[in-house]
Amino acid sequence: MKSMFRRAALVVGLPLALLTVPVAAAEPPIKVGVLHSLSGTMAISETTLKDTVLMLIEQQNAKGGLLGRQLEPVVVDPASDWPMFAERARQLLSQDKVDVVFGCWTSVSRKSVLPVFEELNGILFYPVQYEGEESSRNVFYTGAAPNQQAIPAVDYLRDELGVERWMLVGTDYVYPRTTNKILQAYLKSNGVAEGDVREVYTPFGHSDWQSIVADIKRFAAAGKKTGVISTVNGDANVPFYKELSNQGIAPEDIPVIAFSVGEEELSGLDAEPLVGHLAAWNYFMSVDTPRNDEFVESWLDYIDDDARVTNDPMEAHYIGFNMWAQAVEKAGTTETDAVIDALVGVAVPNLTGGYSAMMPNHHITKPVLIGEIQDDGQFQVVWRTPGLVLGDAWSDYLPESKQIIADWREPLRCGNYNVKTGSCSGQNVE
């Protein structure tokens, strides 16, 4: 039976191989893997990113490709299913033999593919803001680490709006929990009293916010200016903001700053109850730079729908893709190890009027912007960090990761190096 299969494979495979060999020898395309969910609950957010990568590939090909070769996208659908992410990643790396992968959204999907990328030595560009505490040789984090989003947001609320009491509201999973742990430590180190910080978590897709919003109101009635830091995820935001506005909480009284609400999330809803509330990102569609205008224009052209928007993870892919392209040019090859080494130190323009550079810890430099939500679903930038902020893989505010650094250059070559003990744990993740 087995041998029959083998024979059949030979019969079919041999002529096929003979056919493809001369073509491949002339001009093998560079394969770019796209690992974003196109179905299931995350499809809403991730489909956009797939389209972004396809657009970037098309643009690069129009410019003549890379190293004189065309780029060829290989799109797979992990269907919002975390184990499936690992399977599809394996398929991309070992079967399709892609040279680079752009993908993942949720932290759990990244954690699921991480061992695969390390085992098969692939390159993954991860474009979404995340909780940090990780640095892998094979992953390049183009989204924000907590110090590129959460910490500056707290600084803004405290210094510009005078917030002294903090309510941390989040969906119950790893990103909000870790981010809030870092924020708690940061606030305490800045002298905020124990009683002035409260954490609240809800299940995914929470729709009955009455008690929590009433609780926020009571928490805020203690005579100190109160702010809410929201790591509420996805769908649950709409009923959350509706309840806030119904219970009469105005942004000028109790500002809510969100880390997961962007243009894409706002485009599906009536933004009226959200006006004046805040979000912290590294990019807003409304940013007024020529490069951003050009990007928005080409996106609307590509997707052929004027109602579509651009958002922060799209910019992250834009930066990541250009960094990879530059590193390939620099290395003169798509060979993984050469590109990984070439990537560190690469700097490309971002969309907010500056340059982003890939740092030795595989995180990038970005500005942090605070925007107020407008009734058209766009953000008005009200504050931005004076310079670029360097993504910190291991938070300086958590006692267990304070002494840990990541540096993938020689001689350290370690994603988890303890500066106190001088040892590399060999582990890339917590």
Binding site: T202, D208, S211, P239
Partner: protein, 537 residues
């Protein structure tokens, strides 16, 4: 010649200003300050807003209100400031100084004058002091509420003057409270004591904060501190009472949402015994009907929601009848196959909606009469949308009960569900009744979906979020018993909301589920088990 003219004019103006008084001499005219707004930084805007308010210009209130609501724009061509009303296809300009219409402008011809939260605060404070003498009591009340706890000496004097001429009792009470908050810091003991007395029953958060501070203040006299402590204790008693009321309200509203989600299933599963996994998708179809109607009736949000109720009933009811006639009737008496069939149906319906409407959530607007809250006092507010949902859920429940109890269809439904053969023998067309019953259950689910569209996201996954809860409610209440469904829904809602403050939203949900598991083990037939022949069948 020109210079001379100007000089004479300036002299005249100066003379007038001198007569008007020294304060007026430094003031710039209203229009000039207004024109400076667009190019000013946020800090400069704050100063300009105060200057605008201080001119006492009759148009100050509408202009500042327009600015705070984001309706103040600058025309790019000539940098003139206008109030903008959004009309069809473009913006209607209104001259800010005269309030007269000033033509139209395209969307891109004008630019909004941006404000941030700090400016919103400044605007709210200025508007409040300007609207103290507004004709409507509600506006005056809001104005005093805005000032509460932030009074300076001059505003306090204004308020004291206002108190004498204020006709509305409620507003007078609020002014007294605001003044008492000021008097708490007065120099003499008697005034402070009187202020504490005034604040005794006050529920405003500021009053409690100030009284707490006073009670802990070592410099205050002993009598004063005791009084303050007592006042805080009495405030806390009232607050915990209102908090209880609030929790009951939250529980009832959570329960009524469960009731709306489950009541359709109480018919299809409870009365007919069909394990209907597509029930959640009937809810979803109802919600999408509301969305489609809002698209068909642009600008009439309220009417669309009201019309969506019968429309959703009709749409999902017809889908239900079609499904029953086409598929389910072939599988009566085979629960496992029915389960698989309806599960498949639910996937098909979800994907159909994804294909037709896109996988993104759709936004269903909430009518104005369902936004905001009924502020009974500073400690208790009932949101209108939840209030409406509670009443609506009860209305739907009673209507369904009446339909089953008093109509011929209801009689036949009950007859068929209790004893099919006997009903058939008495001339009831049981097949026809089956189709109508299933359609009724589906239609009621559709109505529930319209209500859900006002509370949560309208998307392809809407039904998934409610299917489990619906089955829980029906099983917990006792299959086949509508009253059981009502009691079960409200019990679960209340239990959830009473647990939530103590245990957190995640744990509360788990505790409720554990409770149901234990309960079903003790009483597998639910709260109100069905008795008689049907139960044994």
């Amino acid at each position: 010649m020109g210079y001379k003219c100007i000089r004479v004019a300036t002299a005249a103006v100066l003379l007038i200003l001198l007569i008007l008084g020294p304060a007026a001499a430094v003031e710039r005219p209203f229009g000039e300050i207004l024109q400076a707004l667009p190019s000013a930084s946020y800090e400069a805007k704050a100063t300009l807003i105060r200057e605008l308010a201080e001119t006492g210009h009759p148009r100050a209130v509408p202009v500042l209100r327009a600015l705070s609501e984001g309706d103040l724009y600058v025309r790019k061509a000539d940098q003139r400031v206008f109030i903008v009303r959004k009309g069809e296809g473009g913006y209607d300009l209104v001259d800010p100084l005269s309030g007269e219409p000033a033509g139209q402008a395209g969307r891109r011809d004008v630019k909004r004058i941006g404000i941030n939260n700090t400016l919103r605060n400044v605007l709210a404070a200025q508007l409040a002091s300007l609207s103290l003498a507004a004709p409507e009591a509600a506006v005056r009340r809001a104005a005093v509420a805005q000032m509460l706890g932030e009074l300076d000496a001059s505003l306090a004097a204004t308020l004291r003057a206002r108190l004498a001429e204020e006709p509305d009792r409620g507003v007078r009470g609020m002014i007294r409270e605001a003044l008492a908050l000021v008097d708490l810091q007065a120099a003499d003991e008697a005034t402070r004591l009187a202020a504490v007395q005034t604040l005794h029953g006050s529920l405003t958060p500021e009053a409690r904060v100030r009284l707490m501070a006073l009670a802990a203040d070592p410099e205050a006299g002993e009598a004063l501190r005791t009084q303050a402590r007592q006042a805080v204790a009495s405030i806390d008693r009232w607050r915990s009472f209102y908090r209880l009321m609030e929790t009951v309200f939250f529980g009832l509203s959570a329960g009524s949402v469960l009731l709306l989600a489950a009541i359709g299933l109480a018919i299809t599963f409870g009365v007919m015994g069909v394990i209907n996994m597509a029930h959640g998708e009937f809810l979803m179809l109802g919600a999408y009907t509301a969305y489609v109607l809002q698209q068909l009736l642009p600008g009439q949000v309220g009417l669309a929601v009201v019309l969506a109720v019968p429309a959703a009933f009709a749409v999902t009811g017809l889908v239900g009848v079609a499904i029953e006639r086409g598929l389910i009737r072939h599988l009566y008496g085979r629960p496992l196959e029915t389960l698989l069939l309806t599960f498949g149906l639910s996937l098909i319906l979800q994907q159909a909606v994804r294909t037709i409407f896109s996988p993104l959530n759709r936004s269903v607007a909430t009518p104005a009469w369902m936004s905001g809250a009924w502020q009974i006092n500073p400690a208790l507010a009932l949101t209108y949308n939840r209030l409406a949902i509670i009443l609506f859920a009860l209305a739907v429940f009673l209507a369904l009960l009446a339909l089953l109890r008093f109509t011929r269809l209801g009689l036949q439904v009950r007859a068929v569900s209790q004893d099919r053969q006997m009903a058939q023998a008495l001339g009831v067309r049981s097949e026809w009744v089956d189709a109508l019953t299933f359609g009724l259950g589906a239609g009621i689910a559709g109505i529930g979906g319209v209500a859900l569209s006002q509370l949560t996201n309208v998307g392809p996954n809407l039904g998934q979020a409610y299917i489990i809860d619906s089955f829980l409610v029906v099983v917990f209440g006792g299959v086949g018993n509508l009253w059981g469904t009502l009691v079960a829904a409200l019990t679960l809602g209340l239990a959830n909301k009473f647990l939530e403050p103590a245990a957190g939203a995640v744990l509360a949900k788990i505790l409720v589920l554990v409770f149901i598991i234990l309960f079903i083990q003790r009483r597998p037939r639910g709260l109100f088990p069905q008795r008689g022949r049907a139960a044994e069948a």
